[in-house]
């Protein structure tokens, strides 16, 4: 059982300045499945996500206590290889952020950082990543044009391809569809359904229906606390905590 747990979070407390953003979060993230995280705005979902790849290091006044074990190694430990961790834990942001360079260079950004220089290898990586993000057919003839010319939905899939290209083990998604139309959202969800066979995916979403559609397990955060986590069907049909029930049926949030 434990072998299938990719990330173990134990008693995670996070402070940002004097605000306590997370309190005592303990959760196991199973490997090769999708964990959905739902909760109202300000419940600490995004802070939690950004702690898992140490991106919060960039936030002023950030402090974390507790343990976050990635394959058994504590990523919060002093002296942890932050850059290495970020390579293993990819992240997709709420708004698509294509870097102002060509489509090809965007996808090749990660592999190049990892030291891949061969043009041929890079081409293969770019092609397979774009295919996995369901974008290849739309852009294969214009890989050298600026990524800023793509539509919003295409840009977000490009960002997904960019994450896939660095061959992470875990993919964090921070409300990846909040700025997208339903069709683009469907394409991203389609991609996620295929990706869960190979990756551990954590999906933060404001859209409870999306969690219900794609997540295998679902966690509910409220005011910095993990209220409940379990199989998605249980969370949505018979949650054990009344607050979870109130949220999923839409009483607040």
């Amino acid at each position: 059982m434990n072998a299938d747990v990719k990330i173990e979070v134990r008693n995670l407390d996070v402070f940002i300045g004097n605000t306590r953003a997370l309190r005592g979060v303990t959760i196991d993230v199973p490997a090769r499945s999708i964990l959905g995280i739902i909760g109202p705005a300000g419940s600490g979902k995004t802070v939690f996500l950004r702690t898992l790849n140490r991106l919060n290091d960039l936030t002023r006044g950030f402090r974390a206590t507790g343990r976050v074990l990635l394959d058994g190694a504590d990523i919060l430990a002093p002296g942890a290889d932050v850059v290495g961790i970020r390579k293993r834990v990819g992240m997709l942001f709420a708004l698509p952020v294509p870097l102002p360079m060509s489509i090809f260079d965007n996808v090749a950004f990660g592999p190049r950082l990892a030291g891949t220089r061969s043009r041929r290898t890079l081409r293969q990586i770019v092609e397979s990543s774009l295919k996995a993000a369901f974008l290849w057919e739309e852009v294969k003839d214009r890989l050298n044009t600026s990524s800023l010319r793509l539509s919003g939905g295409q840009q977000q899939r490009l960002c997904l391809a960019r994450v896939l290209a660095m061959e992470p083990e875990v993919i964090l998604l921070d409300e990846p569809c909040s700025g997208l139309d339903p069709v683009s959202t469907a394409r991203i969800e389609e991609a996620l359904a295929e990706l869960k066979a190979r990756y551990t995916i954590i999906l933060v979403t404001n859209n409870t229906k999306q969690a219900a559609r794609v997540a295998c397990n679902t966690a509910f955060f409220l005011m910095g606390e993990l209220v409940e986590v379990g199989p998605t069907s249980k969370i949505f049909i018979s949650p054990s905590d009344p607050r979870t029930n109130d949220y999923v049926i839409g009483k607040f949030g």
Binding site: N53, L55, L58, R60, V83, G84, R86, K87, G90, M91, F93, L95, V97, L99, P100, F109, G110, L113, A114, C159, R162, V163, M166
Partner: protein, 279 residues
């Protein structure tokens, strides 16, 4: 007696508008005066010929060369130092006592008059380091003079790069320096270039800091340890010592056209930068 508000308003508009018009008129007058008096002396021969009889006749070619070599060399020195400082301030540290001291030092340096730079360059580079009056002494002095401008404009440009770009870069496994080098700096280039152009404009017109450090030799320099004369210095010597008023006007006209072109270029760059940011 109390003036009714509407009259007060009209009087204010007239006075303020008049003051603005006066300032504009001064600008137009200065440029027009120099152009009208100077342009007749300027022709191709004036631009490419060497001066003869201390500049009484002949052209100003060596001075044009000096006017571009010196600022370019100064920028080559100040750019790495200035951008490095800006990167350190903007990316590698939070505001603390050290950054505050660096900022105060930069501001103080910006306020120092050019004659002090000239004195310092003369005693330090020319005399103590025994480099003599030469391009290198002049360029080093100018580099210190423009350093604050380069630091400030570069820091502004770096801070204008969206935070999300940095987050993406880090999340893809880039180190701090890789993020700076591959994502932040390429996007800050137009802003940094604005600072470079401003510095170029300032140093090309500089006289006091240059005349005591780079000297005033009329020959074409062959190495970094040769003395040069810039157009500004040439103009000053011609006009002050009454060598040739005609050639002084001509030199001033060429100098002003160069500066106007540089300023126009920097203005254009800045505009492009701002419109790109808005997008």
């Amino acid at each position: 007696m109390r003036i009714p508000p509407r009259y007060a308003q009209n009087i204010a508009v007239v006075l303020l508008g008049g003051a603005t018009a006066l300032a504009l008129a001064a600008l137009v007058f200065i440029i027009a005066f120099v152009m009208v008096k100077g342009m007749p002396a300027v022709n191709l021969k004036f631009l490419v010929d060497s001066p003869r009889e201390m500049g009484r006749s002949g052209g100003i070619f060596p001075a044009i060369v000096g006017s571009f070599i010196l600022p370019l060399a100064a920028i080559a020195i100040a750019l790495p130092a200035g951008v490095g400082t800006a990167v350190y301030l903007a990316e590698y540290t939070l505001e603390n006592r050290i950054t505050r001291v660096i900022r105060i030092g930069t501001d103080c340096l910006a306020g120092i008059p050019s004659i002090i730079f000239g004195l310092f360059g003369f005693i330090f580079f020319v005399t103590v380091l025994r480099m003599g009056w030469c391009i290198l002494s002049g360029a080093l002095t100018l580099a210190i003079m423009i350093l604050p401008t380069v630091i400030r404009t570069s820091e502004e440009a770096i801070k204008a790069v969206p935070r999300s770009y940095r987050e993406v870069s880090f999340s893809l496994g880039a180190t701090q320096w890789e993020t700076v080098w591959k994502v932040v700096l390429p996007n800050a280039v137009p802003g940094i270039m604005t600072g470079v152009m401003l510095s170029m404009g300032r140093s090309i017109g500089e006289t006091a800091a240059v005349i005591f450090t780079a000297g005033a030799a009329l020959r074409l320099p062959t190495s970094a340890f040769d003395s040069v004369r810039t157009m500004a210095v040439h103009f000053y010597l011609l006009a002050r010592e009454g060598i040739s008023l005609e050639n002084a006007y001509g030199t001033a006209a060429v100098l002003i056209v160069s500066i106007l072109l540089i300023n126009a270029a920097s203005y254009w760059l800045m505009h492009r930068f701002i419109s790109r940011r808005a997008r």
